[in-house]
């Protein structure tokens, strides 16, 4: 047993680290509040420039085929790069994560060579950004219940409907879009996938103002959007399978504990005074921090087990899937506890006055989203129960009913 890299892995890590050292500052104890991304802002320009630099150095599209500008590498290289990147202050990956991690892999699986020739390069270099138009007002956890209609008209499809919770739609150039093409068959069977130009005037993006104050998500409306049939991904009616390809590409979450993380909390309680001593001397503080530390380490060590499996060319065990479930609630608990220690003053979020520049206040207000985004904690528990423990699926009353008749019985 060891946590050492193989020779090949060590070489890769050294190369990644050298690249990062040459281009970034190491992670510091200071928590910089995340800035929302808007087109043209300095934060967005920095993210674009960083993506271009990564692509040039060969640290973008690590798992993509070389034919499309990728590195033809495996999941283990991707994990090693992400581990190294988390030790540095880089522009957050969020801008590109969905496009490069999910949309383009779907394109690579279903688009024509001609199309891939056109789209992969600019995506990899960060010049064009992609998003994923999946969730709808009436189809969140139950994604297959979506209603956006695509109707065939000659060589085109005409699309009408609405998507919601689309991360980054306000700064994206292209998207993959799942639609309903046949409401007369059961819900999973009547779906079809397309890719579209987000700058088409028939596409309207309206940012959603989140409770945290930021606007990372959007509503997206389609009014008679015409899409050529050549932009269809997969067969007509096969959209569910294509969507699963996209979701399966959600890479092994790495470094997914958002800051302020457990180390930031330990730093805070080691310094913050409580009853004339650092808060960490208080038995209640010790009890709670020990809990969160053990959970945090558990996620980290579970990831080492998953990486071991990847490194051997095996599929990681189910333990790899627990990270988001554990971290989401932990973030909420830790943020609330930090504020609790601050007493009435914890109400104040002004970065000039609040400890840690208000990072814990901001974390509190963004934490509810962590338990929902990308699959609610409840859906994640269902997945563990059904796919890992093998418990039977819930009774599905709409499974064999034509989509147009659901709820009418």
């Amino acid at each position: 047993m060891d946590l050492e890299d193989t020779k090949v892995e060590a070489e890769y890590r050294a190369r990644a680290r050298a690249f990062l050292e040459a281009n970034c500052e190491p992670r510091s104890g200071k928590i910089t509040p995340a800035e929302p991304y808007q087109p043209g802002t300095p934060a967005m320009q920095a993210a674009k420039a960083w993506q271009a630099k990564k692509a040039e150095a060969g640290f973008a599209g690590i798992r993509w085929p070389e034919k499309w500008g990728g590195q033809g590498g495996g999941a283990i290289q991707e994990v090693i790069y992400a581990q190294e990147e988390s030790r540095f202050n880089t522009p957050p990956r969020g801008v590109y994560e969905i496009g490069l991690g999910m949309c383009l892999p779907t394109m690579i699986a279903y688009a024509t060579d001609e199309q891939l020739e056109r789209y992969t390069g600019p995506a990899l270099r960060g010049e064009e950004i992609w998003c994923q138009l999946f969730s709808e007002p009436a189809a969140g956890s139950d994604l297959a219940g979506l209603r956006t209609r695509a109707v065939r008209d000659g060589d085109d499809w005409v699309i009408n409907g609405q998507k919601i919770w689309t991360s980054g739609a306000h700064f994206c150039d292209f998207a993959i879009l799942v639609t309903r093409t046949d409401p007369s068959v059961p819900k999973h069977k009547g779906l079809t996938m397309f890719f579209i130009d987000m700058h088409d005037p028939a596409v309207e993006v309206r940012p959603i103002h989140q409770m945290s104050g930021a606007s990372n998500f959007n509503e997206v409306f389609f009014t008679d959007l015409r899409v050529p049939d050549s932009q269809r991904l997969g067969a007509v009616g096969d959209g569910w399978r294509v969507a699963l390809t996209t979701l399966m590409n959600e890479r092994l979450a790495v470094g997914d504990e958002p800051r302020p993380d457990i180390e930031d909390l330990i730093a805070f309680v080691s310094d913050f005074p409580l009853n004339g001593k650092p808060a960490i001397e208080d038995p209640v503080v010790r009890d709670k921090v020990a809990d969160w530390y053990a959970r945090s380490q558990g996620v980290k060590n579970a990831r080492f087990r998953a990486i071991t499996a990847l490194s051997r060319g095996e599929t990681p065990g189910p333990g790899a899937s627990i990270g988001r479930l554990v971290n989401a609630i932990k973030q909420q608990e830790m943020a609330r506890f930090a504020l609790e220690l601050m007493g009435a003053g914890g109400i104040v979020s002004d970065p000039a006055m609040a400890p840690a520049q208000g990072a814990f206040q901001q974390s509190l207000l963004s934490s509810p989203g962590q338990r929902i985004a990308g699959g609610t904690s409840e859906i994640l528990r269902n997945i563990i129960a059904e796919r890992v423990l093998g418990l039977p699926g819930d009774v599905r009353v709409d499974k064999d009913v034509a989509f147009q008749d659901i709820g009418k019985a």
Partner: protein, 371 residues
């Protein structure tokens, strides 16, 4: 990265799983609970023959020298099966204490017997209820004689030797080795929450004992012994958690209510998913403990305390939710879930409770080197 047990250790684990399944341990645990013979002598002989008792004892002292990986996987299987054997007190505590602080003569006298299973050992620390601390130690070791009372002492009734924590004439903490067949030893079996891991009260009255020497502070030695044992116990708890999850999942699939299996209800699914998450956290933290044990790190406190906290939480939760998933039948005397519930709660206390280990975890964090 190789964060997985070696092939040899995994073979030992598979062999252990099969052997203990064939031994059908749960009826033995129940026998102990009902005051009958648990046939633990035969089981002890069996696991000694498999070489488990000598797995981590070096060959020069009659062991197999396979190392801690073997001990970790054996612990997991003992936890999974609930085998009623005095393995932890002998292998994680007595043998480890001798290896760490015994003189050559003391080691030669006892390690070969512990390795072969001919002798059993225990570790006598607590003196009744209350916090684990040097202040709670009042047993006296003066002029080679030990006097005082220790309870609870795990497997103390059947042990041949004990490593006892006492105070010398100058009030300093000392570790001494006692042959329990000697004079002035009287033992009383105690009623406990888990009869399959018996506990005793041992009264010493001028019992001959020999000092276990060490260059380090003896209380530090105690804590370091507890750290090592905590990692091994974490594996027992991981095994027990897995057994509870398996049992609850199987029952949730087969039990029907409202026209469908109860396992198709989210109330049950989410409960068992949470148990799975706790198990994965505990197993992953125990793995890091195993790695540090194997690599011979001297300061194991942070990883040991982390593993201990997660594994206590996982097994206590899993054993409780296993009963809950079973409903009324799970609360009956004749059903098996209670056996795991008893073991989970006993293991959660034996090496010091959750609060003790959480405090140790934070202390270790505070003295962590800053990079």
């Amino acid at each position: 990265m190789n964060f997985e047990f070696s092939e040899i250790a995994l073979e030992i684990r598979d062999q252990g799983r099969k052997y203990l399944a064939a031994q059908n341990c749960l009826p033995k645990v129940r026998a102990a609970l009902e005051g009958n013979d648990a046939e633990s002598d035969a089981l002890w002989q069996g696991i000694s023959d498999l070489g488990w008792t000598g797995a981590a004892i070096p060959e020069e002292y009659g062991g197999h020298g396979i190392g801690y990986e073997a001990l970790c996987v054996i612990a997991e299987e003992l936890g999974y099966s609930l085998a009623p054997v005095p393995f932890s007190s002998t292998a994680y505590l007595a043998a480890e204490a001798l290896l760490a602080t015994g003189s050559e003569e003391q080691k030669q006298a006892w390690l070969p017997k512990l390795a072969s299973g001919e002798a059993k050992g225990t570790f006598a620390l607590a003196e009744g209820v209350g916090a684990l601390s040097p202040d709670a130690i009042s047993a006296r070791f003066v002029d080679g004689k030990l006097s005082g009372t220790k309870w609870p002492v795990a497997d103390g009734d059947g042990a041949d030797i004990a490593v006892v924590i006492a105070r010398d004439g100058d009030d300093r903490i000392v570790q001494v080795l006692v042959d329990l067949s000697g004079p002035g030893v009287s033992r009383t079996a105690l009623d406990t929450i888990d009869a399959s891991r018996p506990q005793a009260r041992i009264d010493f009255d001028a019992t001959p004992a020999s000092l276990l020497q060490s260059n380090e502070d003896p209380w530090d030695n105690v804590l370091s012994l507890l750290d090592r044992a905590a990692i091994l116990t974490a594996f027992e708890e991981v095994g027990g958690t897995q057994a509870c999850l398996d049992m609850a999942t199987a029952y949730a699939k087969e039990r029907n209510a409202f026209g469908r299996s109860i396992g198709s209800n989210q109330a049950i699914k989410h409960k068992l998913a949470d148990v799975f998450v706790a198990l994965e956290l505990a197993r992953s933290n125990a793995y890091l403990g195993a790695l540090r044990l194997v690599s011979g790190d001297r300061d194991l406190t942070l990883v040991a305390a982390t593993a201990r906290v997660s594994s206590i939480q996982a097994f206590v939760m899993a054993s409780s939710e296993n009963i809950q998933t079973h409903g009324g039948i799970g609360f009956t005397w004749d059903a098996d879930p209670q056996l795991y519930f008893r073991r989970a709660n006993a293991l959660a206390l034996g090496l010091g409770p959750l609060a003790f280990w959480k405090d140790r975890l934070i202390t270790a964090l505070q003295r962590r080197p800053q990079d």
